[in-house]
């Protein structure tokens, strides 16, 4: 087996063979942004290239301007290629609910793609809400917010008064959408 060992300014660390590429320690870093790794193909095709990964935080806000308090305990995301996985744990005041309009949680870290196979989320925990009658929702195409939906009929979106059951509402949400 042919081996080529590459030594930079530091210790020898990169080994090329006919079967594997090994890095003894450290990471694989591209000098140019937006370059990636082609997986499952022998030619450089965009559809087989993973070129983005990012972890971070975001700030959820509740759709209203009535001045209540939203507490964010945790709100994180991981983006792998075109897919964004997100989660959050927040508490907000009932009076923040706008009972005339669609209830939304704003602030997603990326804009959802503009097609109808957009994204969705589910509720894994809640207190003081009416969430026993629904447990999911959507990330609408071309937006960056969550919409709560019923579990019956046409899965219509919910107003604030359909979501709240007490002064303070808390919930844990997890979801996925693509950009």
């Amino acid at each position: 087996m042919a081996l080529t060992k590459v030594r930079g300014a530091g210790a020898e660390g990169l080994t090329l063979s006919t079967t594997d590429l090994k890095i003894d320690s450290g990471d694989l870093v591209f000098s140019t942004a937006d370059k990636g790794v082609v997986l499952g193909a022998t030619s450089n095709t965009d559809a087989n290239t993973i070129s983005d990964y990012e972890e971070g935080t975001w700030t959820p806000t509740v759709s209203t301007d009535s001045g209540g308090t939203t507490v964010v305990y945790s709100a994180t995301y991981t983006k792998v290629g075109r897919f964004v996985n997100f989660g959050c744990y927040i508490t907000w005041e009932n009076n923040q609910g706008d009972n005339a309009n669609e209830f939304r949680i704003n602030g997603l870290p990326f804009t959802c793609a503009s097609n109808y196979a957009s994204g969705g989320f589910y509720i894994t925990y809640s207190e003081n809400s009416n969430m026993d009658s629904f447990s999911q929702g959507t990330v609408n195409n071309g937006t960056n917010y969550l919409v709560f939906r019923t579990l019956t009929g046409n899965l219509n979106s919910l107003k604030g008064n359909a979501v709240h059951d007490a002064s303070f509402v808390s919930g844990v949400f997890h979801g996925t959408y693509h950009v």
Binding site: E55, G107, L108, F110, T111, N141, G142
Partner: protein, 83 residues
């Protein structure tokens, strides 16, 4: 040994039909001038968003790309999405 922390908007992108402005804010920790940590926070400015708390650079971009035509189209899109 000196540890410093700085916050920078290291990526500003204009995305999609409605020109959403995506902003990545990086918190960079340096030890004696050498970066040892970088973490990210993201937010998105929709065409109908209040930009008064945004940075001067982001405000300038929003003012250019969020035209009346874009705002009208986005409002129509939201109206159609509300089902």
């Amino acid at each position: 040994m000196a540890l410093t922390e700085e916050t920078i908007q290291d990526k500003i992108e204009i995305i999609g039909d409605f020109k959403h402005v995506q902003v990545r804010t990086a918190t960079v920790i340096k030890r004696d001038g050498t970066e040892i940590s970088r973490s990210f926070h993201r937010h998105v400015i929709a065409p109908d968003a209040d930009t008064s708390n945004e940075s001067t650079e982001v405000q300038a971009i929003c003012n250019v790309v969020h035209t009346d035509a874009i705002k009208t189209a986005y409002a129509k899109h939201l109206e159609n999405s509300e089902v």
